[in-house]
Amino acid sequence: MAVISERKREMGESLRLVFTLVGREIRDTLRDWRMVVPIIILTLFFPALMSWIANYALRGVARYGAEIVGERMIPFLLMVVGFFPISFSLVIALETFVGEKERRSLEPLLATPLSDTQLYLSKTLAAMIPPLLAAYLGITVYLTGLYFIEGWKPPLILLVLTVVLTTVKGVVMVSGAVVVSSQTTSVRAANLLASFIIIPMALLVQGEALIMFWANYDVLWWIVLFLVVADVVLIRMGIHTFNREELLGREIDELNLGSIWRTFRGHLRWEPWFFGRDVERMPGWLRWLGVLGGLYRHDIPTALGRSRLALLAVVIALLFSAYVGYAFADRYRLPTDMLRQEISSEAFVRSQNLGLFTFTPWDVLIHNLRVLVAAALLAVFSFGTLAIALLMLPMAVIFFLVVQAANVYNPVVFFAAAVLPHGVLELPAAVVATALSVRMGAVFMSPPKGMTVGEGWLLALADFVKVFLTLVVPMLALAAVIEVYVTPLVVIQVLGG
């Protein structure tokens, strides 16, 4: 009981500190007339104007028998009056940390007992609350206007959807902007980086507008789900990457290529090892054994150990893609005749004459490498998610085909003959490469303990380069040879006739 009441007291104390700072920040925002005037215009004047425009548009399009345009326009404008006030949340959020740093008022705040998380959450809430309240007020004014002018009442589900959508968009914009603000050294740099928030958000709003006119509101719930995930990712990323020391210690965003290269090279190095022997004292022509021993016995396992969570995520994603392949195969059955193709050496040669199955091992290897490198690049810009998606897609197709083949062949035999000979190497190589790619993206959300985002990313990149070149590429090369020269023979032998 005592422990629980102590926890409660600590929680209460923590919230008291957070709301003390939130209150001050909000009061400070509302003291600035440059903030207050747009809030008033966007929450009172603009929604009232929208009500009038909606009413005018309804009557105008009705004259031409296009009532549906008017009907669809009302929900669209509802979304717009909600979005406009949250658009200026960016201004508040972008300068929340870096602006205080420029005004030199941040250090006294950092010297208080506020923890990093309390400080971060306080600033985020303070940037979020005024624009969101303004958005809700704007929606209320618009709907009240429409009710009195046109007698229009929104369906409850549309109202809930609009409020939820407005909220999650606001949270995405603010949490993204706070991350930017806590990682830059000047308001100018923060404003430049804000493009990474504004452009996707502008595209999203355009997409929502299309969906609103299409009146398929179910799709908007998927967007809500996507935005909720983005909210969680951005807030988590903000909390994990927020570092009062970095904020104060970094005066300029200097790109020190020499230091970056030295750090990266340091991560690439490893200690030689050869069954406990002193490698330095081994004959020169045998030292390469120590180099390989150190790499494969210690360094690669260590790098894979650092990637264990990413490996787990990739394996879970693969299981899910297997389920998706199975579900689709169950739903969309291929005709049995189509599956019951002749499998023989002659048929294989005929296919090659038609230009099919003419791959060389080199073609297969290059294709696989291209895909995995592209996945790594995409992972960096998508917190690792697109790398997983790129691996899931072919896996889902493979499982789709295996399940389809179950109509004609024993699925286990089919899988063992058509996939396993090369897959036993190709699949683990792809899983390892994808997991290392995922780390290169996920490090932005959660850098390793004691490291900055940059340091964590350099370590992830070094692990990727090292493991990719020394483990993944050899495995894929061997798999490519087997896929071209061995797998077809096994398929013909086992499934032919």
Binding site: R16, L17, T20, L21, R24, D28, R31, D32, R103, R104, S105, L106, E107, P108, L110, A111, T112, P113, L114, S115, R244, E245, L248, G249, N256, S259
Partner: protein, 304 residues
Amino acid sequence: MIELMGLTKRFDDFTAVDEVTLCVQPGEILALLGPNGAGKTTTVRMLAAILRPTAGEARVAGYSVTEQPQEVRRRVGVLTEHPGLYLRMRGGRYLDFFGRLMGVSADERERRAKDLLARFGMAEAWDRRMGTYSKGMRQKMALVRAMLHDPPVLLLDEPTSAMDPHSAKLVRDSVIGLRHHRRAIVLCTHNLPEAEAIADRIAIIRRGKIIALGTPAELKERLLGAPLMELRLAQPTDGVVKLLSELVDVQAHGTDWVRYFTPDPHAMNPQLLGLLASREVGVVTLSEVGRSLEDVYLRVVEEA
């Protein structure tokens, strides 16, 4: 109260603070002197648990800056390099806000804030927006903020910069008063007479390393040598210089004065005065020629 043990801070390839070890007792004022970029502010930031040391450890008010940073921040009053006030706020609201963050009760917040403002001659600043304050007032407000929660440890970075002489004296007196209340104080300053006047010990830091540490008197003796004494006579120095040269290292003399070095003035000066009295040489004054902390500082920094 404040212990630094091999405290080190590196920013990439640059070492800002390099294995600093020292201790400040309750009731002691330590002045941290050094050129710009020497590592004073970084040291203070580490002691305030704002920056995390790269190596070494520091304990402030019994808490580790690396393991218990929040406890440290609760017990430290920091006057930062820049006042860093919220200029749109009124003084009273500002102090109330910081008092809340530092966990001071509502009654205590108002009482202490008003007392401190009155002590620094700023009672009328309570209701004024801080944007209207002069530079000196802003500095004093920042000092009040640092002292509001009555911390056992104070870290003061240039506390009297931008202040007029009267305000600076108020602040100095206040800091001396804190010493009497057993507070441990670290004072970073470029104002050497001020450091000499109020600090118990001086630490001179350069390129992140402590290159001199001691009381002002110890530092002077260690770095500038034996004290220089000046003897003023009631008659011309004819014959007296030769007499004195047999006892002390005479440096210079004029018509009625002599300057000399002696490694042990406590022993030598009474002996010397006795000799002059026995020869019936009239002595007007015997005093030590003033050597400032500035001389010490310049010597140390130039040598380093």
